[in-house]
């Protein structure tokens, strides 16, 4: 038996004792987890706005650790230290072969594919520790995890790099990087990023590395905005400033060239449409709160680029469809194709191009995971990123 963070309902997660994972398929491996993080995506589960989560589900999709057992077709070796991508991908299907790993045809069990196929037209791939729409795989906020397709996903990391330095290869670093890539940044571009959570911060850092001439970060938490500033961004606090006005002025009346929505479906704010959406989400009418994205679509210039790493699950109302069409925007989103980025980004960590530790605010024992969730949700200003460590002394 092992200890694991399990979901029991809205705002109710607990560390329980559950069965140990086992090798089931030949390509599986079992990982003994040394570090695992709480993600903004986990907050969507905590807040009960993602369908298809069941009581007892083990959460967590950002994790790393030591290989302790391997299936007959795994190419990992016991004792290796690996970081595991949150996307589960087979490596051999049509999508994987084009490096569209988060669209893998084969990782979501056949009987779990129908729900998302109904919602989106085709089924979603599997993710660790998320909804049953994405497979319902046990996650990594636990002592051990079963990792399918272990010959494709996990990346072996060198011993001289600390857990803290490489853990985020599992999700938020590639996610921030892909968000910037999706914004198709050109040298003279001004890029505006909504949300200075971990994803937004890594998107800002990536945009700067990719050569954006100017990056503007938007949030309402002073501490998170300070982290953005420290990376080299200019900042806007949306509680104090009219964001659209400010961006028009800052871009000399053109509008910004590219926008990145690193907020997702639980946008904060008092815009009237957002208030409606808050109510609908609370009563289970399932409208995504998209006020940040709507604002971004109005702020971007004609012919501009819209990148959406923030997660949305369903529908939304009062969509600025006219602006989207008339302005001729390019819109790109998606769950991150993590496996595509792990190797090049590991190199950028090693050579010092990317700093991955500046945003870590708290390290807790796994036993205190529930507190970690509560604070990451309620004390966002100070709690910027939480790492959980199984076995750490209380």
């Amino acid at each position: 038996m092992m200890r694991a963070l399990t979901w029991h309902g809205t705002n109710d997660v607990r560390v329980d004792t559950v069965s140990d994972p086992e090798i089931i398929n030949p390509r599986d491996a079992i990982i003994k987890i040394t570090s695992t993080a709480i993600c903004g995506s986990d907050l969507h589960l905590y807040d009960g706005v993602i369908p298809g989560v069941a009581p007892g589900d083990v959460l967590g999709h950002e994790f790393m650790g030591e290989v302790v057992e391997t299936g007959s077709a795994s190419d990992l070796k016991k004792g290796q230290r690996v970081v595991v991508p949150f996307t589960i991908s087979c490596g051999g299907c049509f999508h994987c072969k084009q490096q569209q790993y988060s669209a893998c045809d084969n990782s979501n069990p056949a009987e779990k594919q129908d729900m998302s196929a109904t919602l989106y037209g085709q089924p979603m791939a599997a993710l660790f520790g998320y909804s049953h729409l994405t497979g319902g795989y046990s996650g990594g906020q636990a002592e051990y995890a079963r990792v399918p397709f272990s010959d494709v996903g996990p990346i072996v990391v060198p011993d001289h790099l600390e857990d803290d330095q490489v853990l985020f290869l599992s999700d938020i670093l590639p996610t921030g990087w892909m968000a910037a890539e999706n914004a198709d940044i050109q040298p003279d571009d001004t890029v505006a990023v909504w949300g200075c959570g971990p994803v937004g911060l890594f998107a800002i850092q990536s945009a700067i590395v990719m050569g954006a001439s100017r990056v503007i970060a938007i949030d309402h938490y002073p501490n998170r905005l300070a982290l953005a500033k420290q990376l080299g961004a200019e900042i806007i606090d949306f509680r104090e400033t009219d964001v659209r006005e400010a961006l028009m002025e800052m871009s000399g009346g053109i509008g910004v060239d590219a926008v990145i929505d690193a907020v997702g479906m639980e946008s904060h704010g008092f815009a009237i449409d957002n208030m409606f959406d808050v109510v609908k989400q609370k009563v289970g009418m399932g409208a995504d709160r998209a006020s940040a994205l709507k604002q971004a679509i109005l702020a971007v210039r004609f012919g501009g680029k819209v990148s959406i790493p923030g997660v949305y699950g369903g529908m939304t109302d009062k969509w600025p469809l006219g602006a989207m069409m008339e302005k001729g925007l390019q819109v790109r989103g998606g769950q991150t194709h993590v496996q595509k980025y792990t190797k090049p980004l590991l190199e950028k960590i090693e050579d010092g191009t990317l700093d991955t530790t500046f945003l870590i605010s708290h390290r807790l024992p796994l036993e205190q995971a529930a507190e970690g969730y509560k604070n990451f949700k309620e004390q966002q200003n100070e709690w910027t990123k939480v790492i959980l460590k199984p076995g750490m002394e209380n």
Binding site: P26, D105, P109, D114
Partner: protein, 214 residues
């Protein structure tokens, strides 16, 4: 939702024709166009509850010959057809399918090859006087570019009379489309990845284990 499938129903893509739709008619209609557009016949809108022509296609990133060879050996099919317990080859190309039925029962169906074209198609049907009448066909076509092979599966099924028949009918009528889809997806997984995806954490939690332990 998953409970439906746990009990298990049918050959992949079973079609239950509760009345008496002749299989001959089914098979000969299947590739004809009823309308003026180019869509497959089984995707035409049909009256509510009319399941006479269920079919399903997937694209598998493997050469036609390899997929054809795997399917040609019927003993392989239970690996991905969840409700087929076993298929035993008999003499002269006949084989006996043991299909899981409600309450731990199994139904045996003897089939013969109706037609076979190397790397293109395999069709089978139950022998005359079978308790259950069934027929099926799988087709293999090259997919565009390097996408591999398009595999289409069609099956038709007519239940036996009497109590067992009614029980089987009830089971199979539930969601023949769903079963077809899932079995084909599992076939694709097996061919492309060498295994069938499961999100179980322990061996006891897999669908196969749960079926076995009731």
């Amino acid at each position: 939702m998953s409970q439906n499938y746990k009990i298990g129903a049918g050959l992949g893509g079973v079609v239950l024709t509760a009345g008496a739709i002749a299989f001959g008619a089914f098979l000969s209609n299947r590739h004809q166009n009823r309308g003026y557009d180019d869509a497959a016949n089984h995707t035409k809108r049909q009256p509510e509850g009319y399941n006479a022509q269920v079919g399903r296609s997937v694209t598998i990133r493997k050469p036609r010959a390899e997929l054809f060879a795997f399917w040609s050996d019927f003993a392989n099919l239970p690996q991905f057809m969840e409700n087929v317990e076993a298929i035993e080859a008999g003499a002269d190309g006949a084989s006996t399918w043991r299909i899981k039925a409600p309450a731990g029962q199994a139904v045996a169906v003897k089939t013969e090859i109706a037609s076979k074209k190397q790397d293109v198609l395999i069709a089978w049907r139950s022998v005359e006087d079978s308790e259950i009448e069934t027929s099926g066909e799988v087709r293999f076509e090259d997919a565009p570019g390097k996408r591999g092979t398009r595999v289409s599966l069609m099956m038709a099924y007519d239940p036996p009379a009497g109590a067992l028949g009614r029980a089987v009918a009830k089971l199979f009528l539930r969601e023949p489309q769903v079963q077809a889809r899932h079995d084909l997806k599992r076939f694709k997984m097996l061919m492309e990845t060498g295994e069938i995806a499961t999100s179980a954490r322990t061996r006891d939690e897999t669908r196969a284990a749960k079926q076995e332990n009731g």
